[in-house]
């Protein structure tokens, strides 16, 4: 992938065009061209789209989903598909955080408490996955469990805590004209990318995802990897939950369900982000940067459709189409290399 990218960069426009024609099937080219055309048309015709304020809004909207997607990317890259419990982990965390805040423990202690709970949730799932349980089924069960625990804990009520509180800087503060949550998103994506590229742990993630048998033979078992990656994903969800709770000063288990945002529930939106970014669901290929860009991209399309005055139906439809589209295109492009698991 890297070498082809370099060739693209160094080639003249004519030979670049030739290369694209040669390397990809006509269906892929037509699909991508069609999509780009629609995207550019929408971008140019949308009122107030190309303003600095709107750009900031887009990145801000992408931040919450993006942070969760970065966490999930670790799981996906290590070959453990995805977690269906992202929004339920967030629901459990948001209840934990709001309960601790309303009991008057202050921001730091509540933060720590929430992170510990999320860590426990991640380790539980990771251990079951690492022992050989199917990630989809394990996390489906865990999702029911966490949601049930969170509802039971909050008695299905809204838990609120009074302003001013110690978490306001995270929810609604800003620095240099950028909201703090946007800055957190940028920092987290840079950190995650550096960890994946240059640390031993990051390389192990790629190794186990690309070839589990080779990983096992060289002493890198999936057991500890599954625990670590699931813990990272859970902690990212907990961070998002805390940021969201800090913003609205309250918590309810349904904040991350279908009412959140426009595009259906949070878990599927996060998985969509990872897929639209172009990460391989089978593992071993992709990066967190792709997920961050995927989040910004989905947010851009959503923003464009809002500016055009579409309702939630067409917008959910658009995100669904984007996922299916990216699945088809990436499957066709990569055909032959990883055709079978």
């Amino acid at each position: 992938m890297n070498t082809t990218a370099n060739v693209y960069a160094s080639a003249s426009p004519a030979s670049l065009f030739n290369r694209i024609i040669q390397n990809h099937s006509p269906i892929v080219i037509v699909l991508v061209a069609l999509f780009l055309a629609v995207f550019l048309y929408g971008m140019v015709t949308a009122p107030n789209f190309l303003t600095l304020f709107n750009l900031k809004t887009i990145v801000r909207d992408a931040a919450l989903v993006g942070i969760m997607a970065i966490g999930l990317t670790f799981v996906t890259l290590s070959g453990n598909f995805f977690l269906l419990s992202m929004k339920e982990t967030a629901a459990l965390s948001i209840i934990a955080f709001a309960t601790a805040m309303s009991a008057g423990y202050g921001f730091e202690l509540s933060f720590l408490f929430t992170m510990l709970i999320a860590l426990a949730a991640g380790v539980l799932q990771g251990a079951l996955i690492g022992l050989g349980g199917n990630p989809i089924v394990v996390t489906l069960g865990a999702a029911g469990l966490f949601f049930g625990v969170a509802s039971w804990w909050s008695e299905n009520l809204v838990v609120s805590f009074r302003r001013p509180h110690g978490a306001e800087w995270l929810g609604s503060g800003s620095l240099f004209g950028l909201p703090n949550i946007t800055i957190a998103f940028i920092l987290i994506s840079i950190t995650a990318e550096i960890v994946l590229r240059y640390s031993t742990f990051g390389r192990q993630v790629y190794l186990i995802g690309a070839n589990r048998a080779a990983g096992k033979a060289t002493g890198h078992e999936n057991f500890s990897m599954a625990i670590k990656t699931c813990a990272i994903a859970s902690i990212c969800s907990a961070f998002v939950a805390i940021a969201f709770s800090a913003q609205v000063s309250s918590a309810h288990v349904n904040y991350f369900s279908s009412e959140f945002g426009s595009s259906g529930d949070m878990t599927i939106l996060v998985i969509a982000t990872v897929m639209v970014g172009g990460n391989s669901i089978m593992g071993g290929f992709g990066s967190t940067l792709r997920s961050s860009l995927g989040a910004v991209f989905i947010s851009t399309v959503d923003n464009m459709m809002v500016l055009h005055g579409f309702n939630s139906g067409p917008r959910v439809l658009a995100v669904g189409l984007m996922i299916v589209f990216s699945i088809i295109v990436f499957a066709l492009v990569r055909r032959g290399s990883r055709a079978q698991e």
Binding site: V137, G148, S312, I328
Partner: protein, 354 residues
Amino acid sequence: MDTETGMFTRLKNAVAHNPDLAFAILLAVCVYGYFAFTNEFFATHRTVYAIMERFAVLGLVGLALTLCIIAGEIDLSIGSNAALAAVIVVRFTDSLGAETALLIAVATSTTIGLIQGYFIAYLRVRAIVLTVGTLMLLRGVALFAAEEKTVMLTDFTVPDFISEKMLGYFSPASLLVILTFVLVGLFMNYTRFGREIYAIGGARKEALASGISLKRPMIIVFAISGFCAGLGGVIIGLRSGTAQALGLQYLLLAGTVAAFIGGVSILGGRGGVIGAAIGTLTVNFLNTGLVFNVTPAFMVQLYLGILLMVVIMFQTGSRIFDDHQRRDQVMRDVDRRREMFLEKKRAAAASGVG
């Protein structure tokens, strides 16, 4: 009488040779027994009717997921597909009548399943990858079809025929579902196409190498899955007279729990229709019993989640145990053979010297 004892013996043999099924039956009896003893209203004729009514919907989803898991895949879009069918049937019942609307909805869902199966086999992606996309896509379509509102019938008495009491415990809906179970069971066990589904689930590489095409079984599985989801959604939609585009997502968890209790293996190729029926009944007993004990809905989800985790732990644990046993067996065999070989060599040396 003779045939009856014959059938009984066959059933007994089937259970004895299938520990998963035995476990499922045991669990079902335990759950039923627990609620029958703790709640005086549970073991009554009316409750049986209520359970069969629930079975009509959940059974279909359990059956669909059982087939998918037998084929080594999982259909995540089942809830959205059911919701779409429910929206369609409720929207069209006023203008076209319940029967036509029902047919349109089920046909739409089946076609969607069929297309999904085709794409999964054509693109050679895992089903979870594609169905997580269609989950969102179908939700969008359903929202679009419902115009982002909760759709409602104008005359709530039109679809009453669907839950009319027949033969004591049944309604047309549950009879239809039982018929579906029987037909799918016969199909899976006695036709070549059904056996192909087991083959691509249990040993996909071997099945493909021996000339089974991936397309046909995939398309059949996902078409049946779409049909079941559609019929389930239609029954829910007609029974309640309303439909929501974002509803019915709980079906996936309940159906998966039912399939796993029924003895499917996540590795594919194991389980069957009888298991699916028993697994669904167990979940239904649990659901109905919890309703009798006035448990809030989220607690039901909590119990189902725990149940699924326990079943998975049980399955994974037994797999690890089996692997260890097999490895020990192999090591013992190697040791024994080496001993035999050395013994023979020693004997030969001794006789040569003698």
